[in-house]
Amino acid sequence: MQATDFGNPNHVALLVQQIRAKTTRPWTIMEVCGGQTHAILRYGIDQLLPDSIRIVHGPGCPVCVTPIETIDQAIQIASTPGVIFCTFGDMLRVPGSDGDLMQAKSRGADVRIIHSPMEAYQLALAESNQTGSNRQVVLFAIGFETTAPATAMAIRMAKEKNLDCFSALVCHVLVPPALEAIFSDENHGIDGLLAAGHVCTITGYHSYDAICNRFGIPIAITGFEPVDLLRGIWNVVEQLESQPRNDRVVNVYEHIATIQGNAHAQQTVDEVFALCDQTWRGIGILPQSGLKLKEKYALYDAQKRFSIRSDRSTEASPCRAADVLRGKIRPVECPAFGSLCNPGNPLGAPMVSNEGACAAYYLYQSIKEDKSQDLEVDR
């Protein structure tokens, strides 16, 4: 299949036909990747599926699951004089308990948007070569297994160069422990899973076999284009409809992901990070679900380098982000969706990033779910 074929309308139509023909019962399928959420809504893949197939969105957006305490810490560090705070763009508007990074920037914090952790490293290197500068460069290191290798690389290189002016506020999280937590809830209501293809490209997909076997959930390793997504859904439906059931992990992102993953990236992560318990916004503390710096890299831990308060914080009340992140409700089922909560005034993190499920539903609302059709005032 050529790269351009993954958006081919004829292939899409054929797959939709096959899924429709195969589906005899209602099934709920979860995806756990912001890129997939975005693509499903943007292309209207959910509209093409039979009504009996319900797609829900798990905690697949790293911006959305970063705990509010970490956002507060980020704002505190960024607001420290002499700090250059480097962050991915979509973290800027995630609400902490009192404001966001963009507001901190407007009050004078030196917050810079980066596209790769290596940019922060390069900036620190430039600072260290500048005579008289005692500025500190802090990387806001967030993301899943996909961004962790680049963070690890930046920190390893900083250590190699003895770069004292560089540190990272680390909040990397891992997908499989979150899935285990969701499926451990007896009432999870999920029949099948689309696993994020790019995460598996790094980690391989051994760990998904255990989830599939333990919880009896068929899993398809799935990509992001319309044809990729429908192949994933088709595979999961086919497994769910087969008699007798033979639940397994199937890689339909075979052109990119392999069972072993990227060994070099895995080694770099293992060199720098160790597993730790981690708080997920909307879900709570999950054991062994995050990454922390190993002792020999402790010097580069921004949490240790800066004295920061860690007050317990609470979420804005009408927001049901927690239920959205666990796939319990779809964003449109939240009472605040589109009215009290919108991308201009997000109450919960999933409304902030383009990849957050709430923002994707808001951006690409299908017409049948347009709540404000008859209102005079625009959203």
Binding site: G7, P9, Q47, V63, G143, E355, S366, I367
Partner: protein
């Protein structure tokens, strides 16, 4: 003098920089005006050196006026610079309103330490762009702010133009059944700038579409009686412009997504940064709403224009969903296209 003959004389010394005295109104200010600005854009009104320009206005048409501030970084980018952009931006705002652009004012805010050679390049670029658009620069101002309090250079331009008698373009003219035309590919300017800022290099290089629309607009006005309204979709991209039109006309704008031209490398760059080309800025594209019976003639006019070879009809105005922009995908699904929110934030992965 043709545009090809126009040369940008750069001062011999590259080390000369703007000082606070250049904005003092004294001898150095006069020297700057004389040696840099007048050299590149002189007009009878400027050379009169009065406190304000006095223009002859022997027309029974109405006056259109528009103003725009330019703070773009970087100051120079593939396809243009802040100088040409500041002329085209205001000219285009006048042109899409149906006005023939006549005169511009230019206000510079310069940062202490700004290289004089670069200022001269930008002034040259303004002169060229103004000549291309047949507008005179008739008034100007220069202020210098202390080092660290500016970003090199900011420019504000204000323009006036003549609107032909009897011409009445606006969203209130739009009717259900009208056709929505777009003059070419979207997102070129915004992604060229984003690529420069992020250091992400694409092959071939992303180039801004920064260009003047006055002749294209004039061709439509003079030949298409069914022309309802024109817009140039700049910041906020076509999503913002279409939403503004849908909202002020209280009609539904239905767009066929597959018909909206997006260059392959713009599409790739957008995918990489997690941006939607529909909300990315353009600086040389025109959206025209025309009556259905004018569709073919209007398309022909756009396609005959050097900037409009990719022009196409991207959708239709209907009454289906009031004040909404609806995109129909290549897969037969539909979604609402909302007004873009806030600034463009590249996503994490």
């Amino acid at each position: 003098m043709s545009l090809q003959d126009w040369s940008c004389g750069v001062p011999k010394s590259n080390s000369e920089t703007i000082t606070l005295s250049h904005g003092s109104g004294g001898r150095l200010s006069a020297k700057l005006i004389e040696e840099v600005f007048f050299k590149h854009y002189l007009s009878p009104e400027l050379s009169a050196r009065n406190d304000s320009a006095v223009l002859d206005w022997s027309s029974d048409g109405r006056v259109a006026m528009s103003t725009d501030a330019f703070v773009i970084q970087p100051l120079e980018f593939p396809g243009g610079d802040i100088g040409s952009l500041s002329v085209y931006g205001t000219v285009n705002d006048l042109a899409v309103q149906g006005a023939k652009p006549i005169a511009l004012s230019i206000a510079w805010i310069l940062e202490e330490g700004f290289p004089l050679s670069q200022l001269s390049q930008l002034a040259c670029s303004i002169g060229k762009a103004a000549a291309e658009c047949s507008v005179r620069i008739v008034a100007g101002d220069t202020k210098v702010v202390e080092r660290g309090r500016g970003h090199g250079c900011y420019i504000t331009t204000t323009g006036i133009g003549k609107v032909p008698k009897g011409l009445d373009l606006g969203p209130s003219q739009i009717k259900a059944g009208d056709c929505i035309l777009l003059s070419g590919s979207i997102g070129d300017h915004g992604m060229a700038i984003m690529s420069q800022r992020t250091g992400l290099v694409f092959e071939p290089i992303l180039k801004s579409d920064c260009s003047p629309l006055h002749t294209m607009a004039k061709d439509l006005i003079e030949n298409i009686p069914g022309l309802r309204v024109m817009r140039d979709p700049t910041r906020g991209g076509i999503a913002a412009t279409l939403n503004e039109l849908a909202s002020s006309s209280r009609l539904c704008f239905q767009i066929d997504e597959a018909r909206v031209p997006v260059r392959a490398q713009v599409k790739s760059a957008c995918e990489l940064l997690g941006l939607d080309p529909w909300i990315v800025a353009n600086e040389g594209k025109l959206i025209a709403i025309v009556a259905p019976e004018s569709l073919q003639a209007a398309l022909q006019i756009l396609r005959n224009h050097p900037l409009g070879s990719q022009a196409c009809c991207i959708g239709q105005v209907t009454q289906e969903y009031r004040s909404r922009v609806i995109a129909r995908t290549a897969y037969g699904t539909q979604r609402i296209v909302p007004m873009p929110e806030g600034e463009l934030l590249p996503r994490i992965c």
